[in-house]
């Protein structure tokens, strides 16, 4: 008995390690990056330590001025200043210039450093600059999580809305949520009759139909999205057809619109809605329909009162699947969507690859994860009873 348990544990160990290594650890680290704040403490250790004991009144002591001048110069010398400048510039635009100018001036500065620094740049004489440095000394920060909700902190620490022209992320999340829900709804609407028809087909035809549903999986999402790119472009077949039918006078700009994104997403995600529905429907016993008929229910009543409620678990599963994939879909919206109409994923990718701002990317990911989790929990709550009976049926 003990031996079997030990063997069983050994057998699942690779999978466990894989899940741990490829899912739990990376996701955990990513989420941690949303609150981690180490750039300042890493580049300016002495300054950070001195600022930690500063009471925030007036200006910090001369030692802090001396330390910041020396450490900035050293950071520039050792090419470590990039991360720091990036981090502080995100706190307040313009701080990058201040830090780089001070670092370059490093050797020429003489004591008393307080006067020398203020002479170099008046911002060193402002309490806010030092407060921001102090707050950025880590080890954690709420900056990214706040900014991802269009919130920020004033230098003295109160949470406020960001300036109107910088507002972005709340709309972005609402847009992502709305597009994903719309795609989910359309997928369910289109998938239900398909799944129903396949489930009622006889032996060889049902597998043929199911294979047809699965054929799109033989090509990558990128290929399918590119196909839409070709179809929807100004001189593409869709525009040609609309012109040919006389529905349009001039080619319409379809690419880059939200309609194009929704169409492409629905196409890519449709099989994920069909398959769970189909699997629930094929397991539904046709005797239920016969029983309902024998009890006097006509076709519509049989569908509404027996088939539909019994197939709801499949609808819920398909909907959850499509929604999760739609929320996380990057390729299709990035390729087909408009520059000003992008999804959260596009910004995450952008923050990671262009801005190298892992904190923001992680914060956006965290909220995306929370949003998906909330929608799934809501679905569970709403269809809880149906899911249970369906599993037993």
């Amino acid at each position: 008995m003990r031996r079997t348990n030990w063997l069983a544990a050994l057998l699942i160990a690779p999978l466990l390690l894989l899940i741990l290594g490829s899912f739990v650890v990376p996701v955990g680290l990513t989420l941690f990056r949303a609150v981690a704040d180490r750039e300042v403490a890493a580049a300016l250790p002495e300054t950070s330590a001195l600022l930690a004991s500063w009471d925030g009144q007036g200006l910090p002591p001369e030692g802090a001025f001396a330390a910041v001048a020396r450490e900035l110069a050293a950071a520039l010398e050792e090419r470590r200043i990039g991360d720091l400048a990036q981090r502080m510039n995100f706190e307040s635009t313009g701080l990058r210039t201040l830090l780089l100018r001070t670092a370059r001036a490093g050797d020429r500065l003489r004591a008393p450093y307080a006067d020398a620094l203020v002479a170099l740049d008046a911002r060193w004489g402002q309490r806010d600059t030092w407060l921001m440095l102090q707050r950025a000394s880590g080890p954690t920060t709420s900056l990214y999580l706040l900014r991802a909700l269009d919130l920020t902190r004033t230098p003295d620490g109160t949470v406020t809305q960001v300036a109107v022209e910088e507002k972005l992320f709340r709309t972005l999340f609402l847009r992502t949520l709305w597009v994903s829900l719309l795609v989910t709804f359309l997928c369910l609407l289109l998938a239900y009759p398909v799944a129903y028809t396949i489930a009622r087909l006889r032996a060889p035809w049902s597998s043929v139909a199911l294979t047809l549903v699965l054929i799109p999986f033989w090509s990558s999402v990128l290929v399918r999205t590119t196909a839409w790119y070709v179809l929807l472009q100004r001189e593409g077949p869709v525009n040609d057809a609309l012109l040919g039918l006389g529905l349009l006078d001039a080619p319409a700009q379809i690419l880059g619109t939200r309609i194009a994104v929704v169409v492409a997403l629905v196409h890519v995600l449709l099989p994920f809605a069909i398959l769970p529905m189909h699997s629930v429907m094929t397991r539904l016993d046709a005797t239920y329909l016969r029983a309902a008929a024998s009890l006097g229910a006509n076709g519509v009543q049989r569908f509404l009162r027996v088939w539909l409620p019994l197939s709801l678990p499949g609808v819920a599963a398909g909907g959850a699947m499509v929604f999760l994939l739609a929320v996380g879909m990057y390729t299709a919206p990035a390729l087909i969507g408009g520059d000003r109409d992008q999804m959260v994923t596009w910004f995450i990718a952008n923050f990671m690859t262009r801005d190298v701002n892992w904190g923001m990317a992680a914060a956006l990911s965290a909220y995306l994860l929370a949003m998906s989790g909330a929608v799934i929990a809501l679905t569970r709550l709403l269809t809880g009873g149906a899911v249970q009976t369906g599993a037993r049926a």
Partner: protein, 353 residues
């Protein structure tokens, strides 16, 4: 028959147009009767029931219910209650909601539905079970609910498709009694499909024995058991010893081993090859049998003790598989010993070979 509720006339069914499942079926079901369609699987009994319920269309012929042709009427407008083998209770509804389903389809008033649901649960002895889900009930309880659901809208006819097939023996007997009680109480016509001959004998007013798409015999339980119309019925209902024989004269037959067997007067011409069927429990055993008709002696090959009776395998008529049932008694013959036996003339059924 003037009081027939259901009339099958020339009904045939084939799924592929070539292999017949039911062939040229004529069958009347009397009002208030309990009729069982009995037969092995693939004999056409379930197809016959499904055509009556409306789930299968006959390939030819007509079906009438109460003098009205129904074989083109969709199942939901036939008003026939059906009980399925796997119960088919809706899992997303409570027991009460299942029972209320046919009533709410018929737009009955809420109070009326509540009253009839309560009464139906009392009828199948499950009062207070209305709020449970079908999955929370045992198989026997589920089938009681299914029975109540098929009866609650007061149909003229209730069809039962092997309703007890999934239950164990004790529950099956309990529910058989329940079904008989309800049939007697409501006077509703029931058509029951089973492959279990004991169940058919227990329940039925009449039994229609099916084989290969045709009714082999239609009659009371006693008639099909005691006076089987052909070797199939004799073999399917109860047990029988089958012996090949040749006719000598109006009552005498010659068996394969050369011995003669006396039967009731029959119409076969001398020299005809026939099949003889003898029920094991009708063979007489013991010293007192000498001097009776067809008296002889046989060696006991095997004895199986079965409590209320013993089953003896004898070497007789050139074979070693002649089975005799011996009611419980003190002295059971030992294997290898010789026993006296006699076969009453009335117990010898003669069929064409």
């Amino acid at each position: 028959m003037t009081d027939a509720l259901v009339r099958f006339r020339g009904v045939s069914k084939s799924y592929d147009g070539r292999t017949p499942v039911v062939t040229d079926l004529d069958l009347d079901v009397s009002r208030g009767e309990f009729l069982t369609l009995l037969g092995p699987s693939g004999s056409g009994k379930t197809t016959t029931l499904m055509m009556l319920a409306g789930f299968e269309d006959p390939s030819a012929g007509s079906i009438e219910l109460d003098g009205v042709r129904i074989d083109t009427v969709p199942p939901h407008r036939r008003g026939i209650g059906v009980v399925f083998q796997n119960y088919a209770l809706f899992p997303h509804m409570t027991v009460a909601e299942n029972l209320a389903f046919p009533l709410s389809i018929r737009r009955l008033k809420r109070e009326e539905i509540a009253t009839r649901t309560r009464r139906a649960l009392e009828m199948v002895r499950l009062p207070g079970f209305g709020d449970r889900r079908p999955q929370q009930l045992s198989g026997g309880q589920q089938q009681r609910v299914a029975l109540a659901r098929a009866l609650i809208f007061a149909p003229k006819l209730v069809l039962l498709d092997e309703p007890l097939g999934a239950l164990d023996k004790q529950l099956r007997e309990e529910l058989q009694a329940e079904i008989r009680r309800i049939h007697a109480q409501l006077g509703v016509t029931m058509v029951y499909v089973t492959h279990d001959q004991a169940e058919a004998l227990t329940l039925s007013d009449r039994i229609a024995v099916f084989n290969e798409g045709r009714i082999q015999q239609l009659g009371t339980a006693e008639a099909v058991y005691e006076r089987p119309a052909n070797p199939f019925v004799a073999g399917f209902i109860g047990e029988s010893n089958r012996l090949a024989a040749r006719v000598l004269d109006a009552t005498l037959l010659r068996l394969e081993d050369g011995s003669t067997l006396e039967a009731m007067p029959h119409a076969f011409a001398p020299g005809t090859a026939v099949l003889v069927s003898i029920r094991p429990e009708r063979v007489l055993l013991g010293p007192g049998t000498q001097g009776l008709a067809n008296a002889t002696t046989a060696r006991v090959e095997e004895v199986v003790y079965l409590g209320d009776h013993s089953r003896l395998r004898l070497a007789h008529a050139g074979r070693t598989d002649f089975v005799v049932k011996l009611p419980r008694q003190e002295a059971v013959p030992q294997p290898g010993s010789l026993v006296d036996l006699a076969i009453p003339v009335a117990a010898v059924a003669v069929f064409p070979a």
